[in-house]
Subunit: 204 residues, 4 copies
């Protein structure tokens, strides 16, 4: 008698996945709800049973994305390795979800840049992620200093932000230019070497 219960969450996920693939192709603004519905194999009206608006679809995508990121942060937090190794791990694993990053980030920027994005505290979420990461990295830097592994002259507060943004810079580079995997892998190596090399160098 009761109608077949649909797994709301799963359905939302299906729609969000369809949306990502459309957004990737045409960007947020130029993608239509109809296209998304089509891709998801449902009717246009049905989309609105699961999302209040087109915006919400994007927001959901960002949510999932940020969850990924938080997980990454948690793994950094939980690391009991010594600072160099922890940071080294952190840098490498930052590129694990690069394909997702490359799909989501352009939409994120587009959204963020728009009035709508600014209206919602979209930026807050992102910057809070950044700050948390920086804070955590900072802890490792300080630990390294304390252990005598890193120079005591490090401006660790500033540096932690630099490290994160270097990583983000390389991820963005991947997003924009899609280098060959082999080559990109070498670049990740280099980034790691640059940062770690610097930290461990006696000269700073």
């Amino acid at each position: 008698m009761s109608p077949r219960p649909v797994d709301k969450e799963e359905r939302k996920s299906v729609i969000a996945t369809a949306a990502i693939s459309i957004f990737r192709e045409k960007g947020y603004t130029e993608s239509t709800v109809e296209e998304i519905a089509l891709k998801a194999g449902i009717g246009k009206g049905t989309v609105y049973e699961y999302f209040k608006s087109k915006d919400e679809i994007a927001l959901r995508i960002f949510d999932e994305f940020f969850l990924h990121q938080e997980a990454h942060l948690d793994s950094l937090r939980a690391s009991h390795k010594e600072p160099s190794l922890a940071l080294s791990d952190f840098i490498r694993t930052s590129f694990d979800g690069i394909e997702i990053f490359a799909d989501v980030i352009p939409v994120y920027f587009e959204f963020w840049s728009s009035g709508t994005g600014k209206a919602m505290g979209l930026n807050k979420r992102m910057s809070s992620r950044f700050e948390k990461l920086a804070l955590q990295v900072n802890k490792f830097l300080q630990k390294g200093k304390k252990l005598g592994k890193f120079s005591s002259n490090l401006d660790s507060a500033a540096l932690s932000g630099v490290i994160i943004s270097s990583i983000d810079g390389l991820r963005l580079y991947y997003t924009l230019y899609r280098p060959k995997p082999k080559f990109f892998s070498r670049q990740v190596d280099e980034l790691e070497k640059v940062i770690l090399g610097f930290l461990e160098s006696r000269r700073n």
Copy 2:
């Protein structure tokens, strides 16, 4: 006989400037031509005397922006300082036009992400700028190797891209989070130290 002739180029510039300020506020998509005209103190139709379409306004802005960038590249090319100093200069001066960067880049991303942006070879321009920069940085890296200043083990091809994207990463960080100038200045210092420190370190 004929009415007052106007400096078409200057007029375009006025409109473009008005456009930037509107775009910054609401992003490209949500800004209307009417708003831009209003800001520029002219009628809606007049905008179309100077630009064929709304797109073209954005393109013009990007053009000016890229010109800035090219100038920066040229100054790097022309540098006859020894590699460390040249790179050091390059990194610092990369942040000279940071405000312009912060205004233009979000619009650029929004545009790039859209179908329109992809249609025009918008990406080409950006990636060619990246490659030229990387090439030039690479030259300095190799020069440094030859001079024995930098380790001969450097993967200079990969590294040059990493250096550029680190800079871009920090510029993007500024764009997104607008850190306090003082603090940001320390971060630029750190970035420079990280890169130069690594290059000059004997340990890599």
Copy 3:
């Protein structure tokens, strides 16, 4: 489950009919889609659910019109009467749909005259109709010659075109000046007499 399905074809027809009545009043260019929608009792956006553009509405109208014409041609083709009678029938029945003709032809000309009309092979359709008609009339002329009913001196190729364009001329006359039905009816009679009289006359 799904909303009331509508007869798309019928809906298009309703819109087209509304469009004809607006076009008749103000011509194609000066009619707005909004007016058409209003006349059809629907919203402006709905028009675009059924027609991709304003052009397409006109094209649809022309299509229906040409279908009428083709039917007329077919009836001529299928006629097994002797040539004089067949042509006589043809001439008279050419004026059966005169009201439709009078509504559609001005729009057709307006459209044809515009760049858009030329772009689409609008002319092709019309001239192919003309040629087919002329060809068929020609056949009857030749048959008449063979049967000894018509003079063997007839330039039937040229004449067939003249016959069609005389008919079109009278139809256009109706369109432009809307003569009184009684009087017009006499004119149709005269046209028929002129043509048939000539054909059957021994003097040519």
Copy 4:
């Protein structure tokens, strides 16, 4: 001291001529005043020194065209030949200005079809021309009847309109399909034969 007097009339003519050539190409609606000015080798604003509006340019063209037509009518009126010859002449000379006809008529229709055209008594002018012509042809028909050259059964009132519209039909045919001159010439011959043949035939 007094500025070089410009021949207003000549200037208007230059503009009108430029306009015709633009109209022919793109139709009235899609032609812009700017294009016309360009073609005429003058500034856009200057057009408005000579014509109050774009409409007026078209009207001027029609005026010139109608003048042509009137002249033709006058020559018919002045003809003292016997009816058959006069009509025969009339038919042939109707095609003398066919190129002008072919240029102007599409614009005329487009204009006539539009609300603007209807607003101005554009139609009046055309139908008055038609009626005058028909009246004059009628006179010749009656003269022919009186002289015993034409059958006394002729419905000359109706027939005169038919004759004019047959001619117009063939002129329109030329306009729309641009037949080869040789072939068209044969068609004019046929039209003449059809009409005269009918009139002189004893059988009606």
